[in-house]
Every structure is written in C-alpha cells, then in structure tokens.
Symmetry: C2
Subunit: 565 residues, 2 copies
Amino acid sequence: MLYSKLFGKTIKEAPREASASSHKLLYQAGFIRESTAGRYYLLPLGLRVQSKIQKIIKEEMDGAGAQEMIAPVLHPIDLWKETNRTNSVGFELMSVKDRNETEFVLGGTAEEMLVDLVRKFQISYKDLPFNLYQFSTKFRDELRPRGGLLRLREFVMKDAYSFHATEQDFKKEYAKMMTTYTNIFKHLGFDASKLYVVESDNGYIGGEYCHEFIVESDVGESKFLITEDGKYAAHEDVAKFKRDEKNVSEKERPMEEVEAVRGNTMEDGVKLHKLPLWQQIKDLMMVDEKGNMILAVVRGDLDVNEVKLAHLAKAYQLRHATEEEIRGIGSEPGFISPIGISKKVKVIGDISLRTIKNAYTGANKKYQDLINVNIDRDYKLDIEGDIALAKEEYLSEGGKKLTQKKGIEVGNIFQLGFHYSSKMKGAAFKDRNGESKPFYMGCYGIGLARTLAAVAEKHHDDKGIVWPKTVAPFDCHLLVLGAAKDRADKVYQKLIEGGIDVLYDDREDVSAGGKFADADLIGIPIRLVISDKTPQGKIEWRKREEKETRLISVDEVFERIRTKE
Amino acid sequence: MLYSKLFGKTIKEAPREASASSHKLLYQAGFIRESTAGRYYLLPLGLRVQSKIQKIIKEEMDGAGAQEMIAPVLHPIDLWKETNRTNSVGFELMSVKDRNETEFVLGGTAEEMLVDLVRKFQISYKDLPFNLYQFSTKFRDELRPRGGLLRLREFVMKDAYSFHATEQDFKKEYAKMMTTYTNIFKHLGFDASKLYVVESDNGYIGGEYCHEFIVESDVGESKFLITEDGKYAAHEDVAKFKRDEKNVSEKERPMEEVEAVRGNTMEDGVKLHKLPLWQQIKDLMMVDEKGNMILAVVRGDLDVNEVKLAHLAKAYQLRHATEEEIRGIGSEPGFISPIGISKKVKVIGDISLRTIKNAYTGANKKYQDLINVNIDRDYKLDIEGDIALAKEEYLSEGGKKLTQKKGIEVGNIFQLGFHYSSKMKGAAFKDRNGESKPFYMGCYGIGLARTLAAVAEKHHDDKGIVWPKTVAPFDCHLLVLGAAKDRADKVYQKLIEGGIDVLYDDREDVSAGGKFADADLIGIPIRLVISDKTPQGKIEWRKREEKETRLISVDEVFERIRTKE
C-alpha cells in the first residue's frame, strides 16, 4: 500500500477530550474517527488491526470446536419479553418499529436469538454439546461512552453461546473457553502477567457465576481485588472479604436517644460522639426502578457497593433518594436510622454489623442520635448479606491481604445454566429416554474494538504505538528518503511479490524527520529505510521497539519477517 | 468438522412459502433459518459460503486498489437531511432515537456517512483518487421480502465509495469497477454468458447513470431488454426503444365529441370505435407522495413504466388515483382525457403520441369520447418524454430487435457525480492552485446474501445444491458406511492435517442411502466414501456434478483437491 494513497493519514492534533493514550494515538495515527459519541469509523489502518484480532479469535474458537454463524441484529422484542429482559436492560436498550409496527430490539447481546434459533430444530442428546459464535455489530445505549474505543455505543463483538445436556458437560466447556480466551489474549500480545481472570458480576446477562478477562491499565474501568498469590481475584462488585471483629466482646448497654447538633456527615458523628468511625452505622437511602425505597446499612468504616446491594434488593437500577424523599417517609437526611424507619422501607444490612456492639446512628429526627444500638436487640434487617465494597488492604475470606487493581475488561464468560432455557418455551432437547429436558447453557464475549484499544494502551511509547506483530496493520513500513525512489520502488515490488504486507511511504514532499515521526506514530513493528546514503543492495532495518539499526539485504528482510523474529 | 456435531442438519420439509429453489434447498440442507420476514440466520454452513464470497470480493477490491474500512450502521439523521434523502427513501427507511432523543437512520446505504468521514480530513488533490469500501449490515424496510435470501430486510452488503478530482478520473474507476465486478462474479462461479451488465435506474441513490449486474434466472425480479448482439442492455425501468410510426401521413380531421356508451377498458374503446388499439390514447391518472395529480398519456398499444414516469414527474413514489379522486377533479374513470383536464393535473406524455394522428380518447365525461384528436392542435403536454415500457420484440433506438430477460440483481455501480458533494458542505478537496473543489463521486454495491442465493439458484439439480469449488462450504465431504469407521477416521485426520477442509459424516445411525442423499443435498463438490467394501488403501471419489466414481488413494485426493481439478 502506498502511503500517499492511504486514506487516513497522521495528524498532529488530538481530540480535546482524549485522555486515554489509545484514543489519542489511534486518532493521530489515522486508525479511527468519531462519527457521533460512542460510534466510530475504523479507517483502513484501524480495520486491518481489527480484522487481525478477528482472525486470531476465529482460529482459537474454531480450534476449540465452536461453530461460527450469524444472527440478525434486529431482534423481535417478543423474544426479549419472554425472558423479561426488556425490563432489566431497558435503559441501555434501543428499539425500532418497522413499517408494520413490529418492534425490534437493536441487539446488545443475543441469548434469546440463539435460543430461538436452536429451538427451531429437533435437538437430540446426540447433537449436544455445541457452541455457536458470531462476530456481529452490537448496540448499547451507554450513558457515557468514553476513551475512544474503550466504551462504545456500537461495536463488533464475538459472542458465543453453548448448549449442553448437563451442568457437568457445561463445566468442561467453561474451562475450555477460559483456556481459549487466555490463548487469544496471549496471541494478541498481552503480557500474561498483566492479564487477570476475575470473578465478576453478570450484569443483565443472568446466570450464577461469570469471569472477566481484564488487562491491567490505569485507563480501565474495571476495579478488582486480588490476593498476592493470585488464587483469589474478583471484581469489586462481587469481591468477598473478611469483616474484622471490632468490640464484639463488649457488653451491650441500654440504647439511648441523645441530642446531636451536628452536620450531616459521618465525620460529624465521629467528632460529636468521640467514638471510632467503625462504631457508627452508615445509612444509605436508595430508590429502585419501581420507586421502592431501600435502606442500606453497613459498619461506618465500610462503603456500600451498589451492585451487591442491587442483587440483594432484586433491583435493576438504584439511585440515591433525594432529601425530599427521605423526609417524605418520616426520616431526616444525615440522621437516618434503621431503628423506627417507616415500614415502607426495605432494610438491607451488611454482615459487618455483627462485628460491632453499642453502635451509634441517627434517630430519623434532626439533631437527634441513638447510641448503644445493637443488632437483633434494637433493630432487625429485612435482608442481611454482603453489600460492602472490598478495598485494598482488606483480607480475603481465606485471610490473605487484598490488593486493588484497575484494568480494561476485554472479555467475559458466563454460566447461564437454565436462566434462558427455563423461560423460553421449547428450549429443550430429547434425552436418551426420549424425554424433553431444558438446555444447560453458557455464553462468552469479546469486544473487538475495546480489545484493539487495550492493545494500543499496553503497547505504546511517547512517540506512538508499538503494535505486536500478530495484530500490526502491516508487516513492515518502508520509507524512501532523498533521491532513492527507484531503488525503493524495486524493493517495494519485491516485498509485495514475496507476499509481505508493506506500507510504503512514497511521499515526495515530506522530510525524513516527518516520515520517521509518522512511522513511529503508526507503530508498524519493522521499519525499512532506503535513502541515497544506504549502501547498494542493502536496506536499513529497525524494529519499532529497538534503537539499533542494521544494514541487511532484501533476502534477509524476507527471512527475518518470515521467521517471525 | 464432524457432521454429527454440526449445527444445522438436513431436513425433509421445506418452508411452505418457498418457491425459489435456493430458498428451499438452502433451508433443507441446513444453510439458513428465518428469524422474522426478511431477516435470516446464516447457520454454520451458510456462513462458510458467505465468508468465501466475502473473501473473493475483498481480494478483487483490494487488487483494484480499493481500501477496506468500516462505518457505524447508525447514521445521524441530520446527515440524511443534508441531502434530503429522508424524504426520498422514507418508505424503506427505519430510524431510532437514543436516550438523548438523537435520531439515527439504520443505514441502508452509506453515501452520507462516507462523505461526512472524508470531509473531516484536509484532502488535497495529491490524496485523490481513493475508493473506500466496507462489508456491513444494511437495513431496508422492504414492503415484500421474498424468496429466502433473494430480497431481505437485513443483509451484509459490500458498499464502496470513490472520490475523484475530475469526471475523467472517475470514469477510469467506473470502468475498473466494471471489470472488477465481472471478475468477482466469474470467480463466484457464474457462467459469463448468463451474467449481464445492464443500464439501470438509480433508485434513491442519485446520480446520472448506473449499471446493474444481473444473473439470468426465472426467480429474479430484474427485467431487462437486450439486443441480440448484446451491445445494448437495459433494465426495463430505463430501456429506450424506437416508437414505430403509425398513421403519421394521415390528414388531421376535425376533432369531434361523440356519444360512447361503453365499458371502461381500452378494449371497449376499440370495439366501439372499430379503430386500432394504437390509435387510442391511454390515460393513467397517478398521485405522487405530496398528493399532486399526474396524468400519464401514451399511445394505446404501449404501457406506462412508472419508474420512467416518476423521474419525469420528479416524484419519489406514485400510486394510482382512486375513482373518487378522478371524479374529484372533474373527470370520469374510463373516460379520462388530456383535453379539458383540470389545470391542477400535470400532464406527462410519451413521445409515442407523435406517431399517430386522429386519435380517440375519453372526454372526461361518462359515455362521451373524443375522436380525431391530434397533439399540439388539440392538447398540449406539460412534459413530453420517454415514459413507455420497453417490451420483447420492440426495436432498440439503433433499430435492433429487443429480447426481454429476467434475472437476479447481484451488484450495481453508480455514477454519483456531484450529487452528494454539492449538497454536503465541506465535501471538497484543495486542487493544485489551493482552490476548494467538490469531489466527483461514484459508488458500488454487492449484496452478499442475495449473491449466495443466486449461486444456489444457478448451481443445483433435483437432488440438491452443486456448489462451485470457490464458494463451497467445505473442500470435500467424507462419508463412512458400514464397519469402516477406523479407516475413515484415519483418512479424516490425514486430510485435516494436510489442510483440507472436510465435512465428515460420522453418524452411526444413518443408512448409506440417507448419507448419500444428504451429501447430494448439501452439495459439497467432492464426495469421498469409505465403506467396508472399499479396497484397502483406496477411497471412493466422486464429483457432485458427475456420475462416475473412481477408486483413488489418499495421496491422489490431496493432489486432485490441490490442483483444483
């Protein structure tokens, strides 16, 4: 490819809002352009990288016995009603009506579509298991798209769905997909020591357990906790930790209501009562999507994780109650308490409340607190469970110190079990005895554009991108400098004829410095230079990540590229 | 691939509504399943074929210097408003609003998106020309999807858009794309003698001229006319023909109004007046999308082509006027006449009206006709032009007999000129003198699923599909019959290790006859059989389209497949 004819050349300016390096560099180097927020064009260079990522994923998926197919992206909304997902994902879901007023969902994930397809067939236990996957455009009406390709509203996803006769059989596939994903990300050039497989939340997918593949990165949005030995790793939305016992041996004193002329913060409580933060009860009034009020209570030194809370509350979406709403149910902002709270409020408490005695909290009245409050004796929880946020330095359930890390979620795998097959009529196979049994299922996703951005995040320096060979847009980047065009043209021809993918910077009005800078920015792993100073029969060879330049022959170029050196 | 594990096995039943062979066979052989009308799943076998078609198209497009990229499928509706296409394609267009009430079109074609992308760059004449293409999902809210994959509401299209400094430069690309398309369809296995490149209508794409690539087939919807030498070929919506002169030398007699107690048909007029059909004037009252009334008039023996009429009328969509509407403007169904018609009606007449004298027609009153009617003297046309439908046996403008043919439109190429660049601000490049000039453009499309269906239409017999090698889902189909599983397993392994794509029918509970029938139905070009009767070291080799079976060794299988015999 002649660079002079390539559509999407380098540019000095970066988008103003670009904070992630991948966003900045992919824009400047001519890989991407924004259409509207969260919707991007992949320019020829960008598509080349995405296609290589797709090829690697396909090879590994095929190798694992999965079968590629493709489903429409417009899903009949009736299918989503069968599983009640129109409610659970309403806020990210887009829908459209056709000329006959039939309503369709713009697919964000395709469980219902695949189950609907499979139930069109008479499946016998002999046909099982199978794993069907596709590369298709997905739509998510994200509140805040960000970071260039890091969080998009439209993107290509590899999504796979496996169907099994038994849980035992599914577990084999789940393990196989874990290995397959690990291989994929390894081939994509991610450093295995910076790739984490962590327990995670299933969001609106459903099922009982799932794992995220996270590439460690400061620009990522996935926070997770991990023990030093790596044996336990979990997203903060599901991470479990040990609540240390505080004053559990203390004798329970009689509860008292006291005057408390103080501000509304936890710290104000600490100052007034001169007691530790952990002895305070933290009260968080939330409202679910149906308008139900939920009071979350945890030990004062802990924070509430809203995803954990939503699961226990069986809510799809939670928001903080307004001051008016808090007063409306007879309480008072800053002085909320589980004791004497309106019966309309569901009280959900963290297990940490059992690690303290004689706690203090508000009294649902302005400037009044309660002291010497004790669980069971003074207040009861409607639901008791794990709603606290795990943090750095906390201990795992096994007693090991947790470290917090951040990263980009590049893939995930989900156990679905009977979540879909139990809701969708006819999602069943005939077993050995001719009886109809529901499928046991799993699903497995990788977002291609985000993966592309993650590669760029992990492989760049201050001059530009440094693509791993496996996903580089071209094998090598040939530059002609000064009066050497004839020689460079011949080398270009020879490389092409030899099956090497070359980007040839043939521009005549750009300086050597300009060409070097562009080559560094674009980041093709091998740079070849021919200038009027290059000895006859030789080419200047340099790897993008090295400083050293060597003089080698064209034949040696072939050798080195082919041996994947 | 083991057939026992393949998702999408053969089935005896065909869909009730299936009339096209491709629809029936692709369903029965397990290549496709319908989701909703016009939206299909491609099962693993179907996707394999589509991927091969995509690969062939990509190779040819890349070879022609086009650059692959990809645009979002949700297009901001504001772009479509810039070119006023929201009006012109309203009836096939679907749109959707996001959470911020921003409206998007579900792309059916992407001219605006590509122009919008290109104008984000500072393009100089040195960057031109370029041709950008993509494979992406397209949406068309078709009134009547049909024939399985023949007319879909959702499908993958290869769409390309070229940008040029001059018309002259564009014409080179147009010719190159014509050659590229011819090569593509040849590689896909279409018989060159049954592939036609015909002048066609540009629909809502715009521009001044375009060509369709049509594969001759009875199930196709594209009707076109062609001279015997093939030098002129045009879709019936644009085909020009010579109007033969009738009684032009006759003296013009005085016009008379006569009583005409007759029925409403043309034939009733012929009987009553005892004059030839060609001497009658045919009047067709139409209504455009804005409610304007249009009277189309042609010589009685000809028919009106509504696409030609719409172009002259500058209308997007025409329908026949109701009897009430006809009476509402003071005329009478069956007795419409251009003479004395309401001034509200735009009269558009065919050039054939000049080939007759002393014509007869209605008088806009029940049971009254006019005779001895002559153009210019008795009536004037608001617009005169070509609105008549070309038919078999008519003569081309060059005087050669036209034959009518039918086929499947598998691709098309369009001159766009300044159609988009003149409407979209900033769609310009800097010329040699630093002046801003609008792009001269073209666009080029191929629908992948319809092409797949067209291949199946052209390549099948009464037993099933007969895939051309280039697009077959597998290189060969291995069948094991009787007690020969160990031998067949070994051959399967050897073929796979040798890089041959094999479908292996390893089922144990299916008869030889059942396996043969399935192999014929699926249509993989080479069938290999190993049974307990097959001599040791040999395999039964048979081509799908031949009757002869040969006994050959595994090594010979490799040789034959590799040499593409």
